[in-house]
Symmetry: C2
Subunit: 104 residues, 2 copies
């Protein structure tokens, strides 16, 4: 059977995938990337981070490409790129829907 996908991403998940679209990296590098890319607005602690990495590996949005001591490096997969692109569409739809209404 085909592999399971996540029907939508949460904010931290979205930023984690964004990191891997930028480049392959390990967990702590993801956390740093997200913090910087979001200008310090989004902080992902270890609990959330490694939970998401496990989940993403389980659904094949990322795959491990290197282990060096404790350090595990992941790279995004085609499935991961698709999920990321779909999430961008979903987010943009939210903005469009909001702008259908009155300006507040």
């Amino acid at each position: 059977m085909p592999q399971k996908s996540l029907d939508k991403l949460t904010e931290p998940m979205f930023y984690v995938l964004m990191a891997f679209v930028h480049s392959s990296m390990c967990g702590t590098e993801v956390a740093d990337f997200v913090f910087q890319r979001s200008s310090g607005e989004v902080k992902i602690g270890p609990a959330t981070l490694y939970t998401i990495l496990s989940k993403f590996e389980a659904v094949s949005y990322i795959k491990e490409i290197d282990v060096d001591g404790r350090k595990r490096t992941y790279e995004i997969t085609d499935r991961g790129r698709v999920a990321y692109a779909e999430e961008i569409i979903r987010i943009k739809r939210m903005i469009r829907d909001a702008e259908k209404g009155e300006i507040i």
Copy 2:
């Protein structure tokens, strides 16, 4: 002490507030509004809906303005408008951050 706010909104919460920005209404009207405004992409069932209404009333994003039999009508508050505006900013920031990177 000042009243508690939600630090961020989920997708269904965002669409519920969007409904009240449009006009005062009751629960089932909210569900219909969200379905239509999102072109059928977002469906909020009763469990999620009334959980969110209770939460929003508790944090004063909406207030009850009429009860007619079972039907309870709510209107958005100033606090609710602020939360909605902040959420739009947050969502737009996600897109901006995504577009800082490579086009995929």
